[in-house]
Amino acid sequence: MNIIRMCVALLGLTLLVAMPAQADGVVVIGHPQLPKLHATVLRKLYTGRSTEVNGAPVIVVNAPPGSPVRNRFLSTYVEQDEERYVAYWTVRRFIGKGLPPKEMDSAAAVIEFVQKTPGAIGYIDAAELRPGLNVLARQ
């Protein structure tokens, strides 16, 4: 019986390790001093209509164009697809009303940036979330 239990436990552990990490949505993270943010506020920040939270300046960053996490973020929080988002910022840039958010190459770069930069906000895949990060919004 003990052997059977051990085998079942081992089998369960193997399955757990073998299963790929499932993406569970996109997580918005920010500098430790930032509060939780509503989706409406995030939409305004990522479309340049707002540049501050509670009177303090904010810097938002994007994932690379075409990346799955960016597509999910744009769909969930900005309610635009990549083409519309790029078109929006193209017009805004070339009429001199702001520049699109800078792009970070990887989740690690986003994490480092938001942890070190006051007012910084970015987003990562939920699978990349680690303890100690300030989660501002999650869907």
Partner: protein
Amino acid sequence: MKRSVRLLLSLSLVLAAAGVRAADVTVSGFGTLGYAISDKPYSYQRYIDEQGTFDRDSRLAVQVDAALSRRWSATAQLKFAPDEDSDSRWAPRLSWGFLSWRPDDDWLLRVGKLRIPMYLGAESMDVGVSFDYARLPIEVYSIAPTLDFTGASVTRSWDVGRGELSVDGYWGKTRSNWRQYARDGVPGYLAAGPVFASIDVVARGLALTYRSDGDQYRIGVHEASSKLADGTNWVDRPVLISPLPGVAYYNLLPGPGMPERRTMDMVIANAAMDVGLGRRVRLGAEYAVRQLKDMDRGVNSSAGYVSLRRRSGAWTPYVYYAWLRSDQDMIDLYHAVNGNRVPAWVPQADLINLSQRATADGLEIHDQQTWAVGSAYALTPSSKLKAEWARTRVGSGSSLVDAPAGSDVRFQSINVFSLSYSFVF
């Protein structure tokens, strides 16, 4: 030193004084390589004829944005395109160069050379990627002689529902070129062909814009006051002069007894919308009315367009109808002047009769309608291919057409085929 160079130097000094680092400066740009050809031997929209041209739609621009601080920034855009005061050369020009101050999320103040927010696509009309048509409908997008002014603008925004309401107020001045076309000319007085009059313009206006979920609505009112840079006056209207019984001719040149004025005052009111109708179909429409104060010109006119476009994958096919028409009394005046002739026995009858046609050209009437079908294909989110067939029906005449010598272009159709590639970087 040209004003644009002075402005660029001033901006550079501001950047240097602010200690702007290379990391705070962003360089971007856009361009279009566009080809258009018509089925007529005469030029339409300055460049389009049966020989084909790249001049009508091609351009290249570079923009520099510098973040001076959290609230301050500077922007300069240099554009290389066909020159505004010549039909036969290209020239670099400072499209705009301004300083921005954004004291908070709701206010934006800008000082420098700016583009005014008139048409819905006014501020980005050079950026081919930003719209799906091969060419924004000329009937509406030629209403204002110029959109680039040196001055100041203030924008105040409010969150309204899921969208944003903004009010733009501006004041500015510029020296621009007013292009007219003389079919025949008058020997010794006026050469046939394009005539560029340098004008000094002061403009001010207000635009109210609402944007929500990709939809846009705009209304605006704009005033412009123009003076001829050479110091001569405008004449209010052609005056019929009768030197002998049974002989009469129209005169539009300044001189004794002519109703003259130093400034030409114009008011333009416009309304525009671009909305989604569902199933990826979008409706676009713009309407504009312009009127001169107490002056008779074909400029007194109304224009508009209605368009439908539908995004299907990377394709966005569209159709639009556009019109531009001078007030009927201006069209009637044009016909009266254009058709006026003095008898051959009158001394210098040939010159006088040519002057009537030149005077009619100076009235600059518009009477045209366009149907266009085309499609944009998004190669990437930052580049597009476009193709379009447009058929313009000229009624009584149109100053967008360079009519051949000795002829009238009226009640004719012009087919224009256009192909272009636009990109941003």
